[in-house]
């Protein structure tokens, strides 16, 4: 079934497009899209935009991850820090991070730093709240046992608190990376002149639909690959923890 249904959908689409039941101008047959995708990848221009998006994603993620994990851990361990920072997190969290883009654009000017920081912001908040949740939901008995065995301060942190929050931190990193990609592609769609998001926008405007669907498919594959890859990595690295996740 898991092969049959997608295959049937693709074949149905192919037939409808070939027999002009749906307009092939708007819905080109999947084989044509696949052909375009391969051609464009060989020609190199699609690969170039893919690389641009990946580079932005890497910068955004690296910028967000370190500070976010530190802040989340600090908030979890020191109540005053949590009280100090929580109002801002609660204020920004439900806001679409792309709404930060205009502010970064006026402060930093139109360019890479503004795009990358907008992408980073969506990862940042997700990682902070996941890390915080990890520290807060850990079994308090673990800390007590650690203390009874003489672990204090730095030792308690490295041996007990950090390992216990690792699964949540990892989940935060994974979700953050996904959100970062979503925001970045949206940013490229509205403001950038390169990247996969811009490619979809440009080919939409020019109505070159096979290229549009090819870029579209590449974004989907990228999202799927990142999510699946990180999930597998998480299962490997944190094999002693089973994750409760939706």
């Amino acid at each position: 079934m898991s092969v049959a249904v997608p295959a049937a959908m693709l074949i149905g689409w192919e037939l409808c497009a070939r027999l002009a039941i749906v307009s092939p101008r708007y819905f080109p047959p999947p084989t044509l899209v696949a052909w375009t995708l391969v051609n464009r990848l060989i020609a190199g221009d699609l690969g170039g935009d893919l690389l641009v998006t990946l580079t932005r994603l890497a910068f955004a993620f690296v910028l967000a991850a370190g500070p976010a994990v530190c802040l989340g851990l600090l908030m979890g361990m020191a109540r005053p820090v949590r009280e100090l920072v929580e109002p801002y997190i609660a204020f920004i969290l439900p806001v679409p991070k792309i709404a930060l883009l205009p502010f970064l654009l006026i402060i930093l000017g139109v360019g890479e730093p503004a795009f990358v920081l907008t992408g980073a912001s969506s990862a940042f908040f997700q990682i902070v709240i996941s890390t915080l949740a990890g520290v807060q939901t850990m079994d308090p008995r673990l800390i007590e046992v650690g203390k009874n065995y003489g672990a204090h301060g730095a030792r308690l942190f490295w041996k007990v608190i950090l390992p216990a929050s690792l699964p949540a931190i990892f989940t935060g990193l994974r979700l953050g990376l996904g959100l970062s990609l979503v925001t970045l592609v949206a940013v490229e769609f509205v403001a950038a002149k390169s990247g996969l998001g811009h490619l979809v926008y440009r080919h939409w405007q020019m109505l070159s639909t096979p290229e549009m669907y090819a870029a579209f498919a590449l974004v989907g594959a990228l999202g799927l690959g990142l999510t699946r890859g990180l999930r597998a990595l998480q299962a490997r690295v944190l094999s002693w923890q089973d994750e409760i996740e939706l």
Partner: protein
């Protein structure tokens, strides 16, 4: 009577910190330490917010956005819960749709706008459909998971006591999946707001996202801040309001999506 002072004593930092920040910001922008072009004084922003509210601009944009959220969320909720339940109940349907959903779900919702605009005439309907996509998947996933995590033994016990089809569904499966459905709806509503603003930034001429983007394009920085404030307020109201609603309506139901 002692509850309030104690709450204040525990949380005074959380209240004092934004106020202090606003005061510092006000002072820094007034003295020119922060460039007022980029960081206008909070009091100026407040005046602009009042003006936007008084001349009705804000309300009409807000109403547009809220209407879109309402339609998109309703659409996503009805379809998402329906298809999610069906996928939870029938293994074949689930196995068939899972790979399709897995490929489509990580695609940023804004990118669906071109696709949707081919299917329906551009305009409100295209915006609403694009907004509904992400929430639909989220709600469908959560609902499916909600049905699947019901204890087999509970279902078997119900079967032994003679519960069949409709009765089994309404008495066992639906209540069992309800916490997950509600979490899905809450997350879905949050995503509806996020996506609607993004879609409005991309393509609309009305709505809060459009107001924010247009204010940027004509460099009305104070209006940008004011609009952002309203969007954040709306987000807080939606997410915390729905959480409060759950506590009232389904007090026995735990929220399962907070990690």
């Amino acid at each position: 009577m002692t509850a309030r002072p104690r709450w204040l004593a525990e949380h005074w930092i959380a209240i004092a910190s934004p106020i202090t920040l606003l005061l510092i910001w006000e002072w820094a922008s007034a003295t020119g330490l922060l460039r007022a072009v980029f960081f206008p004084r909070p009091s100026t922003i407040a005046v602009h917010l009042r003006d936007l509210a008084l001349d009705g601009t804000l309300w009409s944009h807000l109403a547009t956005t809220l209407t879109r959220i309402g339609w998109a969320f309703t659409l996503a909720a009805v379809l998402g819960v329906g298809i999610g339940l069906a996928m939870g109940l029938w293994r074949r349907l689930r196995e068939g749709l899972d790979p399709v959903f897995a490929v489509i779900y990580p695609i940023p919702s804004v990118l669906f706008l071109p696709l949707v605009s081919f299917l329906v005439p551009p305009g409100e309907i295209a915006l609403i459909l694009t907004t509904a996509v992400t929430s639909f998947f989220l709600i469908a996933f959560t609902t499916t998971h909600g049905v699947r995590q019901i204890d087999r033994r509970v279902v078997e016990a119900a079967l032994h006591y003679g519960a069949r089809s409709w009765r089994l569904f309404t008495a066992v499966l639906l209540p069992g999946a309800l916490p997950f459905i509600f979490t899905g709806l809450r997350l879905g509503l949050g995503f509806t707001l996020i996506v609607v603003v993004a879609v409005e930034i991309v393509s609309a001429s009305r709505g809060l996202g459009a107001l924010l983007w247009l204010s940027w394009q004509i460099l009305k920085v104070e209006d940008m801040y004011a609009t952002f404030f309203v969007i954040a307020l709306l987000g807080a109201l939606l997410s915390y309001g729905l959480a409060a609603l759950r506590v009232r309506l389904l007090p026995w139901v735990p929220d399962v999506g907070d990690r």
